[in-house]
Structures are given as structure tokens and as C-alpha cells.
Subunit: 239 residues, 2 copies
DNA sequence: GTTTCAACTGAACCACCGTTCACACGAGGA
DNA sequence: TCCTCGTGTGAACGGTGGTTCAGTTGAAAC
């Protein structure tokens, strides 16, 4: 209800835009909370309005339909992937290090939006054809960030010959898995331990022998999948 | 409508039982077909009846509610996992071979029930608390089949130290991935190629150096992730 | 104080669909 | 032929919930 200084300074259309994005954020956050426990179809628009602290009519002033709410939630999280993952890779030159940083960042974003990640699997089929295509394109784009580094790593001779597309989807899937199987995994792992364990499991089969020492830190994950080299502070205490 | 010889020979309660299972199969198959394209909530009971070639009233004679239809579909596929996977491992003694056979069989069952596997992720939250617990328990049981072999392999010294629970879920997830990401993977891989590529990728990080030669066939997957040893008939032709 | 207008409200509308049930059918028995 | 009963039918009922819109609010302009 109160406007901050920046809005007062700006013109009326800027105020409008600021209010719109503020309202949409209210809606997205409330919807995410409710959908997590109820799913999209069981969430009533009236419940969403109550959860967001606004009226039903106001909801419809900022989204076209109930389906628009779902789209807003999914786009919110997919946009976060698309900005956070490249940010994590920026500044690194080595393809394998870029891959590792990107994947770990992906896992962390998933962790922060765990419910939304699950919703993407549960509910995206409720979207119209066109909106579904947009969601898929955003997901493909994020996977492509990883695939590119796999190809670069192979070209640089650091990674063995492999199918970058398949491995790229594997990494994407393993990141999503943290959300999808959180019931089973979250009980005894945290995101970072999970991400590094999975990364080392994948890289173990990929890094060429000559480079194993160079990437030892990535290969000896906390899950001690790296083999004889590593017997680091084990995770067993956390179980 | 026509009874076969076996039914005529049997008593009336056997005829009843046979008709019940036949009707339920009609319903499950029609529901699977419709849910694949429409999802559970958008599938009308009246559409299901039409698709199955029966009336709405008859549907309700064989299931308690719309939710019961979903449960029947999910139990159908989960029961198939639970019978096919152990069958594939039976007769093998070596833990790594049992693991491989179980995983590949799992992938094949998923392939045959691709739509139902996706439905488990999409719609299982629509089940009641109790039914959901049963579905989860069935999934945990199937993963447990793989976890047990991982532990046996480690105990036998064939596999490096690792977290069998995490790797077990990875294998489960990779099998499900064939259904979840079929849009992207099915375009250039078939199930067997997919299963062997994933299996070799996982085993590469797990098999101890001393045993690599013994399991060479499993390690040099069709994706040629196994490294310098393997340059088998490549899959590139299929792309 | 009055006017104006964008933003907000929520009760009411009505289309939709899960479920029911009164009836139809037909095979076997009397 | 008539009766019985297990099975199947689908129109109709009734609750639900997405969507609308006539009315309210309150801040800014004059």
C-alpha cells in the first residue's frame, strides 16, 4: 500500500509497472506455497487470493486466468535458472570447471525453488500448447549451457568421447532429482553434498586419465565415489 | 461378451472374477491412453467410458471413484516393475551382472509403460494419503532391488566404496528419465542403447580397477563412454 | 469540499462434471 | 411363457469453483 521513494520519484506509468510486478510477485509466491501442498488443480483461486492477502478480483487484474498463474510460477523459476547458472560460470575459463560451477549452481537454484521444480513436472501439461513450448524452450536452453561445456571439454581433450546431449540431460535430471526425490535424499544430505557427489559420479566416467589429478577436487566427491585416493571427512555422521 | 472355455468350466464366482479383471483392464488401458494426452484432472469419466466402450455406470461398478481409476493405473505399472525386474535378475549370481540385468529390465518396463511412468510423477499427488503411501512403498521396493546388488557388489570387492542408496536412486531416476525426457532422447536412441549407455556411465565410476576387464562388456556402452578401449559400432548413424 | 478515477472487493452467476439410480436387457430356471 | 437377477445404461442431480461486474474505497487534483 505504501510507495517507496523510487516510485514517488518516477512517472505514473513507472508506478503502475512497479505495482504490477509487486502484485505478480505476491501472486507467484502465494501460488507456489499453495501448489506445493495441493497441486495446481486443487488450489482454489479464492484460496490463492486469501494466501496472497488480496481479493479474487485483484488476482484477475494481474493474470488472465488460473492457467496464467501456473505459467507465471513456472516462468519465474525457469528465468532464475537462466540467470543464475551463467552467472556462476562467468569468470571461469576451463570447461570442466565451468561445467562443475554451472551444475552446482543449478542444484542450488533447484533447492531454493524445490516446490516449483516439482510443479514443472506435475503441472506443465496443463499449459496451452504455446506456453508449454516456451517452458520447454527455457529448459532446453539451460541444459544447453551444460552441453556446451561438455563439448568444449571434449574438444580440449579433457573429457573422453561421449554423447554431450545425453550427459547434459543426465546432469539436468540429477539436478531435478534433488527436488523430485527430496523425500528420500533430503533426510541425510544437503544440497552441496548432493551436488558434489553427483558431479563426481558423472565426471569419474568422463575425465581422461591424464587429467584426473588436475580435477582431483571434483572427482573425489563427498560420497567417496572417487575411489582409493579419497577418504575425506565422510558424510556418514549426517545419516 | 463371449466367455471362453476356461470360464465356462469354472464356477460362477470364477466367471465373476474373470469379468471383473477384464473390465478393470479395459478401464486401466483406456484411462492410460486418455491421461497421457489430457492428464488425470482433464480426463472426464464420460470420456473414459466412451474410450473403453462402456457406459459411465459400468465404470462405477468396477472402481469406487475417479481417484480409484488413477490408483488402478499406477498400481498396474508398479506391479509390473516388481515382477519383471526380479525375473530378469533371477539365475544370475554375480552382483554386478544382476544389477545390470535389473536396470536394463527396468528401462524396458518403463519403455513399455512410458505414459504410466510419467503419470506417476504428474498425478500421484492426487491420491489420498494412504494410497500415496502404497505407491511410494512400491517404488522404494523396486529401488531396493538395485540397492541390494550395489551393497553386494561392494561387499564382494567388485565396486568401490560408494553410497548405495544414492546410486540406487540414480539408477531409478535414469530409468524414469527415459519416460520423462523421451521427447529429447527418443528421437535418436532406442531403449536398449539408452539403458546400456546409462549403465556404463554409472558403472565407470564404480567398478574397481582390478575388475574393469571382467565387466568390459558393461563398461563399454554404446555411447562409447568407456574410453579408449571401446570404439564399437557407434550410434551416430541413428542420429 | 468536491470531483475524479484507478485500484480493489467479494457475492453471485452459471457452466461443468463426478456420481447416482431408476430403468432396460437378456440369459437361465421353473 | 413368465420370473428372477446379475449386468449394463445414460439422463439427471447437485456441489463445486472459475470468472465477472456492480459497487466501494481512498488518494490526488482542483
Amino acid at each position: 500500500m505504501t510507495r517507496d521513494a523510487a516510485e514517488v520519484e518516477a512517472g505514473p506509468e513507472a508506478i503502475r509497472a512497479a505495482r504490477t510486478s509487486w502484485r505478480r510477485r505476491q501472486i507467484v509466491e502465494a501460488a507456489t506455497r499453495l501448489m506445493e501442498e495441493q497441486g495446481f488443480h486443487d488450489m482454489l483461486v479464492s484460496s490463492l487470493a486469501r494466501e496472497a492477502g488480496i481479493s479474487v478480483g485483484t488476482v484477475y487484474q494481474y493474470v488472465n486466468s488460473k492457467e496464467g498463474i501456473l505459467l507465471a510460477v513456472l516462468e519465474d523459476v525457469l528465468d532464475t535458472y537462466a540467470s543464475e547458472v551463467p552467472a556462476a560460470m562467468a569468470g571461469l575459463a576451463d570447461p570442466v570447471e565451468r561445467l562443475a560451477a554451472g551444475f552446482l549452481s543449478y542444484c542450488r537454484v533447484i533447492d531454493a525453488h524445490r516446490m516449483a521444480a516439482v510443479l514443472a513436472y506435475r503441472e506443465s501439461h496443463s499449459l496451452g500448447r504455446e506456453d508449454l513450448q516456451r517452458v520447454i524452450a527455457l529448459e532446453v536452453a539451460t541444459t544447453g549451457l551444460l552441453t556446451a561445456e561438455l563439448e568444449a571439454g571434449r574438444a580440449a581433450g579433457a573429457l573422453r568421447p561421449h554423447d554431450p546431449e545425453l550427459v547434459g540431460w543426465n546432469l539436468t535430471m540429477l539436478a531435478h532429482m534433488w527436488a523430485l526425490k527430496h523425500r528420500h535424499l533430503g533426510a541425510y544430505l544437503d544440497v552441496d553434498a548432493y551436488g558434489r557427489a553427483q558431479l563426481s559420479a558423472v565426471l569419474c566416467g568422463l575425465v581422461v586419465d591424464a587429467q584426473r589429478e588436475r580435477y582431483a577436487a571434483l572427482l573425489e566427491g563427498p560420497g567417496s565415489v572417487a575411489g582409493p585416493l579419497a577418504a575425506p571427512e565422510s558424510l556418514d555422521g549426517a545419516r
